[in-house]
Symmetry: C2
Subunit: 305 residues, 2 copies
């Protein structure tokens, strides 16, 4: 539902003078008093869709609920400032559950200096829903948008991809520090975090930028978890398939001018590897570069809301 | 649960340099880039607690979900700037429901120039939960807190109280324009909006200010709905009882220096009446002033979360 609904919402939500970037990016950019800019994002996690209370420790659920929001700020190269947290809790054991969720939220908030600026905590006859809104301040170079990629930019990614369901989808560390360091030291054109699948989220970034993306599949950094999952499942999907489509990797995908990309690859300035996996091209769509220098269409795969 | 949980959360949430006012007021006050201040609030409405889908038009539910947040901003004398909206929707008919909710949200947002700065819209096997976070900018005199009342200040209220369940609890207009006008023209010391009950919310404001409040019960502006409800229910509760405890009036309660209060009462600058209903006193607690000049304790009543 989400993409058609967002398309509709874009048509019915009037433009606003304070809204520099609105619906459709990882976060919105607002102009606030004093001319400062604020980056705003919200993510809602619901029981049965994003987690199972019977299976998952509430501290891991709390961590994830905050981490997905911080990952959206990282995708904009924004420094986290504050969050507000709304919890719809089951009546039975609701307060205990809330404290356990916060036991996962608070250490992550402390690690990135995020203020808990408020919340609303209600019980009801329904299941657990966690709605967090995160506020951040853009890096001095301004917010990193999805729409800034240009043909010829290299596609750089942090970390490795695939198999997040084996644990990473709960326990990942949002790439906040990595995004701030890169945005501080290097010229970046565009960014997105991978929540729904590397190929799908990359194709969204390319579409917002009005260009296409061509992947060198041999260069995709495939995680050990992706290989493990491919071996376990025996459904014919390779580790690379998992890396391209599993999602919830919460790594960064960046569009970077070629010379700057070379510099980043030489510097390797992060604790996680940075890898070049292809380039943005003029022709819209997602492509796989072939050994003969040509391109074949590649179908973006991932989680469609 | 809510008050004990908030007390716990206050102890475990570390102070933050950007957080001028944190948990426990109607909204938080954040210092953002450029030294500007931002007022942030969040309210969560859930099916079965705040509304019944079988009974209430989704447009009224959407209106209310935004209006309660704008009412919190009004209580801080903050000008609404933007909102983000998270919807947990039932799988069956979720998209239609979302559009109907927005049909109630968008006109109210347009009326107060509020940007829709983003959202998250998911379906799940559970019921409808609506989480809205509202951002505003404080009036030039700064945010109006709960903690600023002083003994001797008059208690002023907008509008009338009681019987909101007959319709006002859904269809109220948040007192945004009223709060901004009053904060612009007059010196106000403290404010709160009445969500849980006039006597309960007033006692909270007094407690946050470290003082008490003494009510002249004969001066409470009792709504026609309160009288109607008292007549219908025949449970011994008077119209005044309803006015003191029903809640969801979403009117403003203000602490105002005596001379300023006299001026406001003479000016009557709003389209709704402003009424003086008592004064703040040094002795903590809630009081009823008696004809002989003395005071009797009054038990705060209202909706306890």
């Amino acid at each position: 539902m989400e993409s058609s609904f967002i398309a509709w919402l874009r048509t019915v939500s009037p433009p606003h003078p304070a809204l520099g970037v609105g619906l459709g990016d990882d976060a919105a950019v607002l102009t606030v008093g004093g001319g400062g800019q604020l980056v705003v994002t919200t993510d809602l996690l619901t029981e049965g869709v994003d987690f199972l209370l019977a299976e998952h420790d509430p501290r891991r659920i709390g961590h994830k609920a905050l981490a997905v929001n911080l990952s959206d700020l990282a995708a904009m190269a924004a420094r986290p400032l504050a969050v507000v947290i709304a919890l719809a809790l089951p009546e039975q054991g609701g307060e205990k559950l809330a404290r356990d969720l916060y036991a996962g939220i608070l250490p992550l908030a402390a690690r990135y200096g995020v203020a808990i600026a408020g919340g609303d905590t209600n019980t009801w006859a329904g299941g657990l829903a966690i709605s967090i809104t995160a506020l951040g301040t853009p890096s001095p170079r301004g917010p990193l948008l999805r729409s800034g990629a240009r043909p010829g930019d290299r596609i750089l990614v942090t970390g490795t991809f695939g198999g997040s369901i084996l644990g990473r989808h709960f326990d990942f560390e949002p790439r906040v520090a990595e995004a701030l360091l890169l945005a501080d030291r290097y010229e970046l054109h565009a960014g997105i975090d991978v929540s729904d699948g590397l190929s799908l989220d990359l194709s969204r970034l390319a579409a917002e930028s009005g260009c296409g993306a061509s992947l060198d599949l041999a260069q995709i950094p495939v995680s050990a978890a992706a290989a493990q999952l491919a071996a376990q499942m025996a459904d014919g999907r390779s580790a690379l398939d998992h890396a391209l489509s599993d999602g919830e990797d919460f790594e960064l995908v960046l569009a970077v001018p070629p010379a700057v990309a070379e510099q980043i690859l030489r510097d390797q300035p992060l604790a996680v590897p940075v890898t070049a996996i292809g380039e943005f091209v003029a022709e819209p769509g997602l492509w796989e570069s072939s050994a003969d220098g040509g391109r074949r269409p590649l179908v973006p795969r991932g989680y469609e809301h």
